[in-house]
Symmetry: C2
Subunit: 371 residues, 2 copies
């Protein structure tokens, strides 16, 4: 007899928010020439990070520091907050799971946007929450509508990615702060700032970290080039940060990753170089797109959404055709955003691969959809 | 206004199953000379593991393979099971959290031993389960009593560590298989085999992996020397393994850790050397203990429980006094096992530090307790 799963677990599908590129490569029987689908940072981490991780590997037989003391204190200094306002965790994915678990019981309402980060939805479903989806507006998450809906329904959480994934736009921090003034008591905004480092300065939230209405999620997976290391952190009011101690996996951090993140934070020159490289690649993606009659959307992130001028079928075909030509990209899940494909920034070599693959892929995709 | 936590979370204390050695070192103001308290493997991983992790670090900007395909297939071959019988996860701690979440809803009963692994209890509490604690018997978890209690109460889970932590003993696999025949339908045994590699051959469970009554937990944290890398795996029936896909953090694995574990599995020579080193260190700990009039308990693990012949107060004083002399050890939490301290195996240098520190620490501890 199988184990007796909880009723909630029985009701859940076995699912995965994303198919990983390795799985696609195995299906394809070959590696990708340009890995531009997961918004990773092909520019990699600082060489000092690699050095620090290598040095730390000599002590990989030791469990990591369960309090991430050094990293937490360095992050506190970096953000000019107290260490009590920071929780280090296993990537934003892990932290989103924790925050959902803290507040969402079966039947509790959560507001997000249709087409926003699916891993957040996965966690909400996994804890029995009831998701309320709002449409994007002008290719951005509709901040005022999200806040209004959360307030009207007494939602426990409202999710906003700023800058946005998958479309790349952003709200100014001042606009978000103003919107929070309309948020009902006891609704927590989960502000996913995974792409904060590549965003314009005015995207920063001008509120003290002690503000209990919002928790901000940051990561070393994007601009810091450490997606495979699994290090994120949350910034929030001390009582909320302390609540994670009730449920988090205390010894969940990789020890060398802790050392790597610390070194990453200590090398702002590398970060500046990455941000500059990302900006140049965004321009290059836009140039390639425009050269093929396509419309690149403005981006505050390390990727560019490119409007193919068709519908989801065309974009899906395009993802397949680019993949067949060695270029891994992804696309928004929901109409009308699914008229776009999402291309992560890459090296000059990646851009050459894209430049070459895009015209024939587009022709093939159009033919497939027309046929 | 703070977020509205779930009633369950409101009822939980902010806690941590273990204080990490780094925290103790900070409190002490100095590092430990011998780190023998967390049952880590001071013998470290294979040099080939370090090489593999270093090579993988060059691609640390990529997320890890969400399916841990290569590692899962290598583990399947290693255990002569199908890949569908294996789940790779973020250490046994992470996997215990997942299995509890799969089956334990608020109010569900779970049986374990008083003084057994506290992180398992932490997860059960964290999901609202009701823990039923049974006493150890002859310094082992009382297998027949655990099975009987789980059966009588219709518990969802029953936990057994084999070999046992913190006492070091074990049940034969045949005894466990026989006990499972008495287990009530729909109770799942969580068999924590963290120390399997250092155990005698007859500790192995002689049951097919398709047996739905048990899930086995393994780790690279102990004999493989990779505690800081956070890689464990579960062995079980395919439908149970598949159920984890509903709730696990799919992209939770560190990419270099995946590569390191794969290399560890490919170097049985190093593992054999570690097992031999552990056996010699167990003998040395026993010799040191006996030389001080103390009683080492037989161990199937990478640590030795040493009976101080007193009570919990003496053992607590001894942990403190050894710590003050640069030796980090831990001790069982519950009487009468808390008459012991638990010393992890170490290098010859570690053993010399222990040999030197133990007599004065023991004298000081006895004086403190007598005073």
């Amino acid at each position: 007899m199988p184990p007796r799963y909880t009723p909630l677990v029985d009701s859940l599908p076995a699912t995965v928010p994303f198919i990983g590129p390795e799985t696609l490569e195995r299906e394809r029987g070959a590696g990708f020439d340009a890995r531009l689908g997961a918004n990773e940072s092909v520019f990699g981490p600082s060489p000092k990070v690699l050095e620090a991780m290598r040095a730390a590997d000599a002590e990989i037989w030791k469990y990591g520091d369960s309090t991430s003391y050094d990293l937490r204190h360095a992050l506190a200094e970096h953000h000019r907050v107290a260490p009590e306002n920071i929780l280090v965790g296993e990537g934003i994915d892990g932290l989103l799971g924790y925050v959902v678990r803290l507040v969402v019981a079966p039947g509790d309402r959560v507001v997000t946007s249709s087409g926003a980060y699916p891993t957040f939805n996965y966690h909400v479903n996994g804890h029995g929450g009831v998701l309320d989806f709002l449409a994007y507006r002008d290719d951005r998450e509709d901040l005022p509508a999200l806040v209004a809906r959360a307030t009207d329904t007494g939602a426990k959480l409202v999710y906003l990615a700023n800058p946005d994934n998958p479309m790349g736009g952003y709200w100014s921090g001042a606009e978000i702060a103003a919107a929070l003034d309309d948020l009902g008591d006891g609704t927590l905004m989960v502000l996913d700032e995974a792409y904060a480092e590549t965003a314009p300065e005015d995207a920063a939230l001008p509120l003290p970290v002690t503000d209990e209405r919002v928790i901000r999620m940051r990561t070393f997976s994007k601009a810091y080039g450490l997606a495979g290391a699994r290090i994120g952190y949350a910034l929030g009011a001390a009582p909320l940060i302390r609540a994670f101690e009730k449920i988090r996996n205390h010894f969940g951090m990789n020890r060398s990753a802790q050392a790597g993140a610390l070194a990453a934070l200590a090398d702002p020159q590398h970060l500046a170089w990455v941000i500059d490289s990302v900006a140049r690649s965004r321009d290059e993606i836009a140039r390639i797109a425009a050269g093929n009659g396509l419309t690149p959307l403005p981006s505050a992130t390390n990727f560019v959404a490119v409007d193919l001028g068709g519908d989801g079928d065309l974009a899906r075909a395009m993802v397949t055709e680019l993949g067949a030509r060695g270029v891994f990209v992804r696309m928004p899940f929901v109409a009308p955003q699914d008229r776009c494909i999402r291309i992560s920034c890459g090296t000059e070599a990646d851009m050459r691969v894209l430049d070459e693959a895009l015209p024939p892929a587009l022709a093939a995709a159009r033919e497939k959809v027309a046929g």
